[in-house]
Structure formats: C-alpha cells, structure tokens
C-alpha cells in the first residue's frame, strides 16, 4: 500500500482503501478465528454433534429403514409398542365368493354389514332389486367365520322375515342400534323416496322385528327424497370431545338420493341424532352437501358444498361409505356412483363441522393402499373386518350376481425398531431421521431468509437515515412489542397451519432483529473514511451500501444468525407442538411429541426420543454459536 501512495509524498490513511484491505484483513481474522475455535472443546463437541445429526438427516434414506410416512393402515389406533416386531398389512388378490352367496344374476344388490348376531363377526344384510320383476327382497347372510383364508356365509331366511313395504321395488338397507337395547335395528331406503324402520324387540339370537314403518324426522315430517333413498347410519359426531354439544355418541343418518333431473346434481343429506340412548330423533336437515349451496351463510363457510367431478357424476343413485382412511381421526368418505366410478373425500376440519375435500391419495398420511375396484355399473362393496383379525377385508357385489372378496393379512415386517414404534405403527428412529431433515432445513431457511431481508431493510434504513430510518425503527418497535411466539402463532394460523406457512410466519417475526443489527453496523460504518472516499469519486449510494458497507458489516450478522439457529429450531418445534406448523403425518420432531402426547404416560418413548433430538440440535447449535461469538466478539477476546 505504501509503495502505491508514495508519490503523493505523504502516507494516506489506510482506511481510505478500506474495502479491499479490510476484506483481506477480515479473511485473515476468520482464519485466525477458526484456529481459535479448534482449541475450544465445547465448540468442537457442538460441531461434532451437528455433523452427526446432519449426517443422519442427509443419509436418512439409507439409515432409516422406513420412509417418512410409512405407517400401517389401521382403522383403529392401537397402543404403541417398544419391542414388538412391526407387522404390515397386505392384500390378497381377488377371489370369488359367488358360491356362498348364490345370488341371482338379475339382482342388483345393495348391502349393509353389521354384527346382527352379536358374535363379533359382521353379518350381511342384502337389499335387492330385480330388473325384470317388480319385487324387492331383503336377504340376511350370517357370517359363519373364516377358515383357511376362506369366508363362509349362510343365507338365513328365518332371521329377518319382515315383508318389504308396498310399492318399494328397490331396497337399500342400513342397520344399527337405534333404541339402545343392544341389538341391531334396520332402516331401509325405498325407491319411493321414503325411509322405513324396523326395530328388533327380541334378542340378537332370537329376533322379533316390528313391521316396517315410515321414518319421520324430529319435526314429525316424513323423510322424502328424489328417487332412490340410500341411507347410512354412522356415528358422525363422535370422537370430538370439545364439540359444543359434547358429542352425542348416537348414530346419525346420512342419506343420498338419485340425481336431480332438474338441477343435474346429487344431494347428500345429514341428519344428526338429537335423541338419547333409548330414543332416536333424527333432526331436521343439518348439512347439505353435493350440489346445492347451503341456503345462506357468509362466504367463508362454503366448504360444505362438495364439488363432484362432472365426468363421474352421470345418472342414477349415489351411495356413500365412511371409513377412517388416514390417521387424522376424521371420517373419510367414499362416494360410489351407479356408473361404477368412485371418489374419495377426506374431512379437513373438525368432525362437527366437516369440510370434505377430494382425498389425494399420495398425501394421505397413511400410506394408502386399497385394491382397485372394478369399475362396473351398479357395483357395491363393503370394507370391514369380516375375519376378526383386526384387518379390513373387502367384499364386492357385482350386478351379475358374482361376489368377490379380497382380504388383508398381517405380514411380519422383520425390520428392527431401534426406538420402538409410535401410535400409528411408524418406526420412531426412521421418523426422527426424516424429521431431522425437516428441522435442519427449516432452521437454515428461516434464518437465512430473515437475515437477508433484515440486512437489506436495516442497511437501507441505516444508510439513508431520516424518515426511512424512523419508519423502519417504528416498525421494528411494533414487532418487538409483541411476543414472538404469539405473533408467529397468529400468522401461521391465519395463513393455515403447515410447515411452509410456519416458516413464513417465523421469518416475519425474525427479520426485525437482524434489521436492527444491520442498521447499527451500517451507521457505525458509514462515517468511515473509505465511504467518504467512495462518495467523493461519485460512486452511487446503492453500490456503496451493498458493495462496500454491507460486506464490512456482515460479521456481527453472521454471529447473530449462528446464535439464532438453535432458537429457531426450538420455536418451530414448539409451534408445531401446539398445532401451528407441521400437520399429523409430517416427519417433524415437534409434531411427533404432540401426537405422542396421547399415550405418553404409558409409552414415554414416544415423547422422549424426539425431544432428546430437539435438545441435541439446539444444544449443538448453541455450543457452536457461543464459540463463534466468543472468538468474533472483540469484547470477550483477550
């Protein structure tokens, strides 16, 4: 430097050339800092832990024996295991059951399964409509149990012998305990648009049925639908402890009707049971999906109108099946059209106020496996555990009288569970490996975006001063006046809880800290000689700021960012824990703790291991951050 400036006859203050010089000096400083860090044991421990966890995250596909969302399909939740060898469910191929049922090829079968005989095996109630005669019938098949992967059914004419109401040529049955006497009662939907009910006043083994009578709603009106009424009884509002009427635990009625010739749309009607355990009282229409908008209501509750794909919706009647396909404990729904096409929908909000959305099978948190149904007109299927082995089986009634079935069996997985399994049967170790990816990526993404945004805004404010600066400082003041967690929570909730929105919310909360640091740095830096020198040769403001000042102010920001990484992981996990970030099924450590909380007293490992990993990440980041701060902070350096 001196030789360059010698001709001036005097030495020029080195600060004038500060940009390059100081960058060089800073580079030297960094190398020096690294050499210091090598001597700090706590930093080294932190660094090793981070490298280890990062390796787990990066090599998750190799190390983790299960994918991020690989769970058993279990309709019922089972308590989690520690050492149990995990089993997976598999489907057999289709095989025929036509011989057992021996249905007339002309019959169109509409079925319902229920355990009529109370022997823990589901029996079949088949309602029929003959195409050539005007006579409908109701057939009862008793489940004789399964032997050697074969289901045995017996037609029992004596069990249910009530005559079909007059004028009904097509019967769709449904069954459930309506009067609370612990046996199964029957409701049928006729093609005259009415519902008829027959109660069992006897015992499950020796039934005494009442004659079919027309079903009324609680207001005393007859149920009357367009064309064929297809009723389903399901306890629709159960499972939600916090609904405003406290969850009735009574069977509710859902009826689908034929396509409306005038509107060309289907209707799905829901009638909540407002009675009590010994007395049913289906309320007046509560919700109406599919086709007709809810008569009134503000815009933001329109989700109840179900859009049905026009290509699947053709003619004839619509039937509805409920199952718990994914693990969110909300009912999922399969719509079955007479054309043989079918569609899946999943409830996306609370049970009491469901909003059904088309179910994207790839996004279902349970790996969705379901044998393809043959797309035949007038197909009917039932999906229940017929064999009593806790695995669902599938029986399909085709319109030519053939019955085929396909059942699930358990196959021992054999893969080892290092940290046990969770409440969905997922392998905790694998899920943690995948979750580490999420959490690391989230932390780095949030901190880097927040730092960049904050630096730019803070730099501009610091450099230009005046009203720009004032405005920015007031804005950061407002951000500082709120507790970060609450603010992030609100933003995440408003945007809709998922991981991306969580990151956006946290960036919004986090940037102001960096803006303050950057502002302070720029203010202290902008009075240095080299800035004046740059200005005096006519360099533009932006160029001075971004090429000269900011590179010289970057180190405190880097230190702050390193120190923040741990805090960000902690906050993100916390937000996911209270339900504002990751959703059930995401591989994220906070949500793992949150979903494990249900069982945590009997299965502590569900909560313990994910938490330990959060702790390790944050601890390691803090160790590294502390080390970096100690060597970068001139105040603490000796």
């Amino acid at each position: 430097m001196v030789s360059d400036t010698e001709y001036l006859g005097e030495e020029i203050h080195e600060d004038v050339f500060s940009f390059r010089v100081s960058l060089k000096a800073r580079w030297k400083e960094i190398r020096y800092a690294i050499s210091l860090l090598r001597k700090s044991p706590l930093f080294i421990i932190g660094f090793i832990v981070i490298v280890f966890l990062l390796a787990l995250a990066i090599f998750a596909p190799i190390i983790a024996s299960y994918g991020p969302r690989e769970f058993d399909i279990r309709i019922m939740n089972e308590p989690p295991f520690t050492t149990d060898e995990r089993t997976t469910l598999k489907w057999t191929g289709y095989s025929s059951l036509s011989g057992d049922f021996d249905l007339d090829p002309d019959l169109k079968a509409r079925t319902w399964v229920a355990d009529f005989t109370n022997n823990s095996l589901d029996d079949f109630m088949v309602g029929t409509a003959s195409t050539d005669t005007s006579e409908a019938s109701l057939l009862f098949f008793e489940n004789r149990g399964a032997t050697e992967e074969k289901l045995n059914w017996e037609l029992r004419d004596d069990y249910f012998d009530m005559p079909i109401p007059e004028g009904v040529t097509r019967v769709v049955p449904t069954a459930g305990d309506l009067d609370g006497d612990n046996d199964t009662d029957v409701i049928i939907g006729g093609d005259d648009g009415h519902l008829y009910v027959s109660l069992n006043k006897g015992t499950p083994a020796t039934p005494a049925w009442t004659a079919f009578s027309i079903l009324n709603n609680s207001a005393g009106q007859m149920f009357n639908f367009t064309g064929q009424a297809s009723p389903s009884l399901i306890d629709f509002d159960s499972g939600e402890e916090k609904t405003y009427d406290n969850g009735s635990h009574l069977l509710d009625l859902i009826v689908t009707s034929d396509i409306d010739a005038n509107t060309g749309r289907y209707q799905i009607y829901t009638y909540m049971n407002r009675g009590n355990r010994t007395h049913y009282s289906f309320g007046v229409l509560t919700y109406n999906w599919a086709g007709k908008p809810v008569p009134y209501g503000p815009k933001n509750v329109t989700g109840k109108i179900l859009e049905i794909n026009p290509t699947t919706a053709t003619t004839g009647s619509l039937r509805i099946y409920f199952a718990f396909i994914n693990n969110d404990q909300r009912p999922d729904m399969i719509l079955m059209f007479d054309s043989g096409k079918y569609e899946y929908y999943t409830a996306s909000s609370v049970v009491k106020d469901p909003q059904f959305l088309p179910l994207d099978k790839s996004e279902a948190s349970v790996l969705f496996e379901f044998p393809a149904l043959p797309e035949e007109p007038f197909l009917d299927f039932r999906w229940t555990d017929f064999t009593g082995d806790n695995a669902s089986d599938l029986i399909i009634f085709a319109n030519n009288g053939s019955v085929i079935y396909n059942f699930q069996y358990y196959e021992v997985d054999g893969r080892f569970h290092l940290l046990g399994t969770d409440e969905q049967g997922g392998d905790i170790w694998s899920r943690i490996c995948w979750a580490l990816r999420t959490d690391f990526f989230l932390a780095v993404w949030i901190v880097s975006v927040a730092a960049v945004v904050g630096t730019i805004i803070g730099g501009l404010a610091g450099y230009f001063g005046g009203w720009v600066d004032n405005l920015m400082m007031r804005i950061t003041d407002i951000f500082f006046a709120f507790p970060g967690l609450i603010l992030a929570m609100s933003i995440a909730a408003a945007l809709g809880p998922n991981l991306f929105n969580l990151s956006i919310a946290m960036i919004i909360v986090w940037w102001s800290g960096y803006a303050r640091i950057a502002r302070g740095q720029v203010i202290s830096e902008k009075n240095r000689l080299y800035v004046e020198a740059a200005r005096s040769i006519g360099m533009g403001d932006m160029r001075i700021l971004f090429r000269h000042i900011l590179p010289n102010s970057i180190y405190p920001l880097l230190v702050a960012a390193t120190l923040d990484l741990g805090g960000v992981v902690l906050t993100a996990a916390g937000l996911s824990f209270i339900g504002f970030g990751a959703q059930p099924g995401d591989a994220e450590l906070g949500i793992m703790i949150s979903s494990g909380r249900q069982y945590f007293l009997s299965a502590p490992w569900l909560v313990f291991f994910p938490g330990i990993f959060i702790f390790l990440i944050v601890l390691a980041f803090n160790l590294v951050g502390d080390g970096v701060r100690d060597v970068m902070d001139p105040k603490l350096r000796r």
């Binding site: 020096y32 210091l36 350096r637 000796r638």
Partner: protein, 345 residues
C-alpha cells in the same frame, strides 16, 4: 545492580531480573525481559518509553497486579528487604494501598461508576487504618468519622466543596477532579511509594500542570517515594530525580535526569531525545528512529534495539548486553557504548 545497593542512599524497592510473559492466543508475549531497577527512598523516579515497552507492566508487577493472561515468570522484587513476589495473597493485600499505591491513567474508567466517591475513598481508611473499636462498632459514628477523614484528604488534594463531593458519583465530576480523587485515594493510607501510571496523560495541559504540581507538593510535604510512569519526556525532566528508559521490555539506560537529558549514552535514548520538537530550534523534519517497535511475541535476539540501532554490530544480535554502570549513577544496556566507556567509572 549490586553497585546500586552499595550506594549511601536507602533502596526502598529493588527489582531484580524481572520477567513477565503474556500468554495470548497469538503466542507468548515476552513483555518484560529481565528488568533490573533500584529505587531510592524519597526520590521521584521516572520510567519512560514508547507505548508497549513495558512501563506499566513493570509497575504493576511491583504491586502484583498483573492479570490473566499475564504472568510473572522470573525475578525478585524486594520491598524493604521482603520479596513481594513471594508474599501470600493476604500479605500482599496489606501492602497494596497501605504501603504502595497507584494512580492510574484514565480517571474516567478507574472509578467505579455506581458507587459514591466518598464511599470509594473511605474504603481506604476502612481497610488500612486502625479505627478505634467504639467507632467501628457504631455505624453513625463510623460514617461520621470516615466522612471527616475523606473531607480532610480531599482538602489536601485541593478538591473544592469536599463535604458536598462525598455523595457525588464519578460521572458528575470533571476529569481533573476525578484525577484528584484518584490521588486522594492513593495518599489516603499514607503509603511509602506512590506510583503514578501515566497519571496525567488523559488530562488537558492546564489541568496536567495542576496535577503535577499537586503531586510534586505532596511528595515534598509527605516525603514519599514517587514513581512516575510516562511517555512524556517533558514531565520527566520537570518532575524526576532519576530516570529509567525502557525499550521493548528491557531497560536501555538509567541515569539521573539531568545527566540523561544532557548527555544520553544509549543510542535509543539519543534518538528519543532528538525526536522532541524544540521551540527554540525549529526544524523542517523531526528526527525519528527508523523502523518499528518490535513484536514481542518474536522479539529480536540479543539486544532488542539492534534492528533499529545506528551503531549495530554483530555481537548485538547474538548476545544480550548487561546493564552496566558506565558513569557514576549511570547505567547503560549496550555493547558498543559499554566498550566506549570502559574504565571511565
């Protein structure tokens, strides 16, 4: 410096082969490399040198105030025949403040900002003076007693409104006043040795003069030994009986003030004196010593001044010279000059 001890004057402080290292991340800084000094009772002694030559380290070693990462690695410091460096922590604490006190450079930072001035000064009486038991047991009496004492000492250092100052905090005082408070503190317990570590550097010139006069007066009135650490040769010339010049952690020259200024022997001292601007002899360019202050992590071998020395010889780089008496009361640390003056004593 055995010759010095033979002198008729009483040696109050005798430093022998003092070595101090600072263990920093950048390496071991050999801040002091074998300092030998004798300070006589009742004299005012100057310690001069450039920044970083080890002046402050020397005097702080005397009070054993070297803090981490510094460490005294070798040497002996005799105060009245006792080796200060071998005393226990409890014993050295009795020396500090009571027998030796230090007036520090920066009055802004050396006073505790959150404690009242009176309280800070009265601590000196509380720990170093025997107070009658009945006063000590009675809180009211004690505070009254202490206040009296503090006011007395404030008057001595010519602090105005002494009684009112008692309750003030350091930030409410001007720089000169604060320096006076520091001086008051240092003479409160009636010490034998007062060390002024750049005591006036941070002050305005006029205030500087006042403080120096005050110190001079105190020294004369109280008859105490005063050690002056400064880089200001003017102050040395004004205040000191004898001077030691330090360079790079080694003593270059020790002499009586007049002798040193009139007839400097060590080439560094010569250079130093030449670089002083003189009003009556204006020059175009000031003389300066070529080269830079040595890096004490890797100090030059032999005589630490040799890379900059105009009289440099081969032996200078190879062998460290001894501090040798070349004239009466005049010691020099230089191979060349020692040869030149050999036998003149």
């Amino acid at each position: 410096m055995t010759e010095a001890t033979a002198n008729t004057q009483d040696v109050i402080l005798d430093i022998k082969n003092l070595k101090v290292n600072f263990y920093t991340y950048e390496g071991v800084v050999k801040a002091l490399d074998g300092i030998d000094l004798s300070i006589y009772k009742g004299e005012s002694f100057g310690l001069v040198g450039e920044t970083g030559c080890g002046k402050s380290v020397t005097v702080r070693s005397v009070m054993r105030l070297i803090e981490e990462p510094g460490k005294i690695v070798e040497g002996e410091i005799f105060y009245k025949g006792n080796d200060v460096l071998k005393l226990k922590e409890k014993e050295i604490r009795k020396l500090r403040g009571a027998k030796m006190t230090m007036i520090f450079q920066d009055p802004m930072t050396f006073l505790n900002p959150v404690i009242q001035i009176g309280e800070q000064v009265s601590e000196m009486f509380l720990i170093h003076q025997k107070i009658q038991k009945d006063i000590l047991d009675n809180k009211k009496k004690l505070s009254k007693y202490l206040k009296e004492k503090v006011v007395e000492i404030f008057d001595l250092v010519k602090l105005p409104d002494a009684a009112e100052l008692f309750k003030r905090y350091p930030h409410e005082l001007s720089g000169g006043m604060r320096q006076r408070v520091l001086i008051a503190m240092s003479i409160a317990a009636d010490p034998d040795i007062i060390i002024a570590d750049e005591a006036t550097t941070a002050l305005d010139v006029t205030i500087q003069a006042q403080i120096l006069n005050l110190l001079n007066k105190l020294k004369k009135d109280l008859g105490r030994t005063l050690i002056f650490v400064t880089h200001n040769l003017g102050i040395v010339a004004e205040m000191c009986d004898r001077v030691a010049v330090l360079y790079g952690g080694q003593i270059a020259e020790v002499a009586e003030t007049k002798a040193l200024f009139v007839d400097p022997i060590h080439p560094y001292t010569q250079g130093l004196l030449r670089s002083i601007p003189l009003l009556h002899k204006p020059k175009d360019l000031l003389d300066s010593i070529d080269g830079v202050v040595p890096n004490l992590v890797n100090p030059p071998s032999g005589c630490r001044f040799h890379p900059r020395c105009p009289l440099k010889e081969d032996i200078c780089a190879q062998e460290r010279p001894k501090l040798v008496k070349v004239l009466p009361e005049h010691w020099v640390h230089c191979h060349v000059k020692q040869r030149e003056y050999e036998g003149k004593v």
